[in-house]
Amino acid sequence: MNKTALQILRFVVLVLFQVLVINHIRLGGYVHPCIYLIFIMLLPVYIPNWQLLLLGFGLGFSVDLFTGTPGLHAGATTLMAFCRPSIIRLISGTQKFENIHEPNLDQLDGMWFLRYTICMVFVHHFALFFLESFSFHLIGQILLRILISVPISVFLIMMILYIFKANKKGERR
């Protein structure tokens, strides 16, 4: 399948899956798992920076349209997109990406990917929960929500990535 078409399909499927399925997971109301960030995580490593930021903003804004919170997810995903090049540099060390087009589980080992996911999800959730409360006076509660939501998001994202890795022989998403 065409690379651009694949990205568009991934974008639409992930946003819909997030707002129609994942947003209904509510363990006591504290948890807000996010899987739509997979889209930003799987963008090509050497994508131009401005495209990365605009796609991040667009992704967050699409989710915002559904949740009725303009600017909330957009702000969080923009920050995440901004941090992505630094995160990749930080966790890769000497590892080179010369022949790797997209960061995916076929070409990179699971531990690398787990570290990558944890960093990205943490940045996203941190921004999301602070923007949501719009203040620092509920700091204890915000930290609690981050502490609960980050592991659940990381688990869901890794699970989805492994499922689609296993199905790679068939049609890829």
Binding site: G29, W50, T67, P70
Partner: protein, 271 residues
């Protein structure tokens, strides 16, 4: 000029980042400060349609529970009806007070409880006579207030919203208070501004007060879970359990107050 251009090109990553973050925060701030947190452009019909498709699928799995709830509500209504026809002087003043309210049934197509500010989307809109600031109730208790309306859908500011405030009354002693969410759990809310002399028991019923033009008087809100005396002030707070279960909300009624234009014009006079 050339230098400026070169500067922008060199730092375009940071500049674009800051620009997009500023846009996000402005959008967010605007939606928070707007009158009754009006959701800008989000209750559009396309989003509502997607939620409705998804909700249609889910509805089949809940038919059993829904039937049961409707049957219970039916039984309760029949009981009320019996009370009004059996006695010569009716319990509800059918001709007077209650007829100023019209109830529009609607179905919830999307609902959140996990955010700091939660909204509910229903499948009735301007075309069905829904307007902003109308009250919304379920068969168990009050739910929220209409925040924004599109042609076929409406978004409701749920009680589970940091800006939600509802005037309430304790059934036992007629004392008034104001209900807020308190931003923690979807089952509980906080009633503030209770005079210190008021003694509350666990399980006391909390109803809507007559001062609200949005909700009719005496609608179920919840029950007292625990009373928290504050040593410093003269006003207490109490934690209450909502009568409405927001996690399983499916069918709601939007309340149309037929006298609202009249009340609004009165209020406009002294503002």
């Amino acid at each position: 000029m050339y230098n400026l251009w070169r500067f922008i090109l060199k730092h375009h990553f940071v500049i674009l980042f800051i620009l997009l973050e500023v846009i996000s925060i402005l959008l967010l701030a605007r939606s928070q400060n707007f009158h009754r947190n009006r959701v800008v452009n989000t209750t559009n019909d396309a989003v509502g349609q997607v939620y409705e498709w998804s909700s249609e699928v889910g509805n089949y799995f809940r038919l059993n529970k829904t039937n049961q709830d409707l049957a219970e509500e039916n039984a309760w209504l029949r009981q009320q009806l019996a009370m009004t026809t059996d006695t010569t002087r009716s319990f509800f003043d059918i001709e007077g007070r209650d007829t100023i309210y019209e109830y529009i049934p609607a179905q919830v197509v999307n609902n959140s409880i996990g955010q700091a500010n939660n909204y509910i989307i229903i499948n009735k809109g301007r075309a069905d006579g829904i307007e902003r600031d109308m009250g919304v109730i379920s068969s168990d208790g009050i739910v929220g207030v209409v925040a924004d309306v599109s042609r076929h859908y409406a978004s409701i500011l749920s009680l589970l919203h940091s800006h939600s405030v509802v005037g309430v009354r304790f059934k036992n002693n007629q004392e008034l208070g104001s209900l807020k969410w308190g931003n923690n759990n979807y089952r509980y809310g906080i009633v503030e501004d209770i005079p210190a002399h008021v003694v509350l028991q666990e399980g006391d019923t909390v109803l809507t007060s007559s001062y609200s033009f949005i909700f009719p008087e005496d609608l179920m809100v919840g029950t007292v879970e625990e009373s928290r005396p504050i040593s410093s002030g003269a006003l207490n707070t109490a934690k209450i359990r909502f009568a409405t279960d927001f996690a399983t909300l499916r069918y709601v009624y939007v309340i149309h107050n037929l006298h609202k234009p009249e009340l609004d014009s009165l209020k406009a006079n002294f503002q």
